[in-house]
Symmetry: C2
């Protein structure tokens, strides 16, 4: 067996080492265009920010180790010019010498990744405009930051854009993010990005949402960026983080099928339309775990697993890829945002029935020092209770809850299962009723009709029905901010003041996070009223109606 | 409906508030012997250590709030003297006035908890000998620690014993732990307690394993403790943490069934042998999630869930208890130990076939600062791959992995599923191949025969077969410590030095954590040798053969 692997970073390196373990005798060749293989591309922004102090630590597996330990034939600075699928041969070009050569193959694994998108804007090729993919890109951006610029601009508020902005600020460089959409992190549901905006602004990032750069010009001390909104910005450096496109040239030229967004089409064994050629990682179009619909999700975890699976299949150890859930996480200064499974946007687009709840628990027992708050949004099937997706923002413990929910989605668990989950509890780590259990309680209560709830966005919609909005918090909490037209009756007084409430209107109860509102709903419905609890209470309301900072723009 | 709840801490308080949400009109009475309800009993040791600075914060729900907000009839300092099951009436005694009264009931929930065991040893009732259950117990122990004793003794190295020792050390009080068994934390498998011993000793705790106190005598400056081993210890205070027994007097006197260890027998709805009487929490005998065998596991999470379930069933919202997995966690100074599901001890006792693996990964990407190492032991079915149990020790991230595995056990997942889990990866939080995935890779490789492995304890057993033990680490690592009679050939040189190895013996390869040993096994078996990899490598060997500190005793 002679296996060529094109691209030696995440998926390619995983495929190569796995292949060697499965076959000591095969010829395994890694062909990599860049000078480096198996580097930690997720770490690049953090070396710019000097949180990862040593550049060498980004080289996960040294070239020599791949050669010696894994007996791999690694050819860096080498491009695959063409694939001759009939002759089973590829044309290689040494990028240093320009010499071309032929290499036969039995199987190919394409792991060519994706390249940052560069829009054809006026001035896009001016010096000072960067994108980040390779260690060399990182070196250039870091050099620009080391020069202590007075201002940096990041175009695009996706994962890379936010990581860059954080690391620029860490280096003391004032930074503006320009994002075409009206929210940061477009893969998230919009309301869940409200606390991200607040965190970014608190740490000095300037956010310009719903705007874009339309051109660049050189000025004496750097660049002038012209905005779609009409204004201009000046900065010594601009980094483009507006997205990536699959590096599919080789696949297209070889006649392999690609999807509408450019990802190479593969089956569940990562085989392309030519069964001798596999593709893995950011270059492929795969499918969503829950819906089965085609998707392109550039994440390191799936890339590595796909690399393993492709190598498995090459050597007859077949196991099918189960699809991508889209589990992702991002540190935003001292906070964390994470997600798994479908978002509300996605479920709406698919026309799938769902319900949602919000909770705002602490990561561990409130009586133990250092408890940090988080907000979790859970999406689930309103009939079966099957978990469809989750998003969370907060301090420590967000990663744990999203990982638990990711595994729960993988196992097709329901919100009823979450009620019964037995999680590790000691005061420094959790609560006797963990946030995961709380999600189960609140969502199951909704399904079973024990805990009628209404969502903030539903409440925002105009209705013919008369609604009475009842705030059951303390007068102090009420005075600190409340829903429009709400009436305050603290929960402790509610039973004595039922006569103040209308029986012919829907009553929406709410408190700070939902717990007192739930009890109020129980009390009212047991007394002949028609009450629903606002899911997640005032804190969820504030996600939809950011208070202090004005409109996000 | 008139519901009496006997005991107002974890399970009782949960049952009461749940019952009120389900029924606004029922009469719900909490009868609590102590002066406090709903306090954070898991937090008591940490207030002694002053990590929880304010005593009030241990009162989770104030008495007045339970009365006002939940309309509960709470009677503290009140004992239930007897239950008349025929007349459906209980006799109450006010512990302050001594007056008795009758109270009728429709349903009772017993949540009387468990009491610390006090052995009938000479001098056991001397002043200075404490146990910890209530806030008042805590106050007494804290006062003794506040007096700055020169030495404290904790008898019993279970969860409470270790928490107390840590908090005493935190207050600067030298502390000795005496434990009858040859290991700390007897619920864990012995080898997994090795790093706990090391951590305790590093922080100044003196451990006396395999020993016990046989008597106490008053001396001028405190107590003299006579040990079974013959020696004596002196200390100003002694705390008993040798275990608890269910507070089952009421149940026994009422003729309810109890198990051999004293736990009240209940069905899956938490009903005792009298269907009008429920029991929840530390007082019950329930069943193990995996094996279904009867078990008594005093944990706050199950107690709270059982309280909810009992209240549900009283009000016709029936859902069955799924059994207790035994998910538990403990902070030990700056480290964490946690477990879920069955241990090897348990599986041996049940005669269940299983396999085990060990891994020693970092909590997050090694290239990102602050990565901390952990050790995970995974037990699984060797045929189906079903996950049976897990134990872990290490720094940050241990709680996350055990919680994920707990949910995986709940969902009847297999090690093959863990290979495919899609967990949240960014450098501060995990790795592209998370420890959970690694567990899946290593265990699945074992099941599929791709990765033959041998366990340290198997290697320790005498055998007729000739074995060749091959260390594939660097010479420097080898010189730092290695297995007896092992030969060192670094992995990079292995392919060139195959002639040095025997074809007629079983070769056991090992490295530091198992990865290079795995590759060595692949290389050797592809070349006609018979090789197995030592699961978890030298670090697992050190769990079984602690090196620096001599025997644990």
């Amino acid at each position: 067996m002679k296996l060529l692997i094109v691209g030696g970073i995440a998926g390619g390196a995983s495929a190569a080492t796995r292949a060697r373990r499965l076959s000591e005798d095969s010829e395994i060749v890694i062909i990599e265009r860049g000078p480096d293989v198996s580097f930690a591309n997720c770490g690049l922004p953090y070396h710019i920010g000097e949180e990862i102090p040593h550049r060498e630590s980004l080289l996960i597996t040294q070239l020599e180790r791949l050669r010696q330990r894994y007996k791999l034939d690694v050819r860096t600075r080498t491009d695959v010019v063409a694939i001759d699928r009939v002759a089973r041969s590829v044309t290689l070009r040494n990028l240093d010498t320009g010499t071309q050569s032929q290499e036969s193959y039995d199987r190919i694994i394409l792991a060519t990744g994706a390249a940052p998108i560069r829009l054809p804007l006026p001035g896009i090729d001016l010096p000072g405009i960067y994108s980040l993919r390779t260690l060399q890109d990182m070196d250039r951006i870091k050099a620009a930051i080391d020069a202590k610029p007075t201002h940096a601009v990041v175009i695009g508020a996706g994962f890379i854009g936010l990581e860059l902005a954080e690391n620029f600020l860490r280096r003391g460089v004032p930074t503006t993010i320009i994002e075409l959409q009206n929210q940061v992190l477009p893969p998230l549901d919009a309301e869940m990005t409200t606390p991200i905006n607040e965190t970014l602004r608190k740490h000095g990032v300037e956010l310009r949402l719903g705007d874009s750069a339309v051109g660049f010009a050189q000025i004496s001390n750097g660049l002038k960026i012209t905005l779609k909104s009409g204004g201009t910005l000046e900065a010594e450096l601009v980094v483009l983080g507006i997205g990536i496109r699959p590096e599919n040239r080789l696949a297209v030229e070889s006649g392999l099928e690609v999807g509408p967004r450019g990802g190479i089409r593969v089956n569940r064994h990562m085989q392309t339309s030519d069964p001798s050629i596999y593709a893995v990682g950011d270059v492929v179009e795969t499918f969503a775990f829950l819906s089965g619909e085609p998707t392109q999700v550039p994440l390191a975890g799936p890339a590595n697993r796909q690399g393993r699976l492709a190598a498995n299949h090459v050597f007859g150890k077949s196991r099918a890829y189960r699809g991508t859930q889209g589990t992702a996480i991002l540190r935003i200064f001292d906070r964390t945002v994470a997600m798994t499974g479908a978002t509300e946007q996605t479920l709406e687009r698919l026309g799938r029935t769902y319900r949602k709840i919000y909770i705002h628990p602490n990561d561990h027992a409130g009586y133990f020092p250092g408890a940090q708050s988080m907000s979790i949004k859970l999406l689930f099937d309103p009939v079966t209770g099957r978990i469809l997706g989750a998003q969370a923002f907060g301090g420590s413990g967000v990663d744990k809850r999203i990982d638990i929910l990711s595994v729960a989605i993988q196992a097709a668990m329901t919100v009823q299962d979450l009620e019964e989950s037995e999680l590790a509890y000691a005061p420094p780590y959790g609560s006797a009723k963990d946030p995961i259990n709380m999600l189960g309680f609140v969502a199951s209560g909704l399904i079973r009709g024990e805990h009628p709830q209404i969502d903030v966005d539903k409440l925002d919609q105009p209705t013919d029905r008369l609604r009475f909005v009842l705030d059951v918090r303390t007068p102090e909490e009420f005075q600190g901010g409340h829903l429009p037209n709400s009436v305050n009756i603290p929960i402790e007084e509610l039973r004595q003041r039922l006569s103040e409430l209308p029986k012919d209107q829907e009553i929406v109860t709410y408190c700070q996070v939902g717990q007192r509102g739930y009890l109020a709903t129980c009390i009212l419905n047991a007394s002949g009223f028609h009450a629903k609890n606002l899911s997640g209470g005032y804190r969820t309301y504030l996600l939809y109606h950011p208070r202090c900072l004005g409109p996000a723009n």
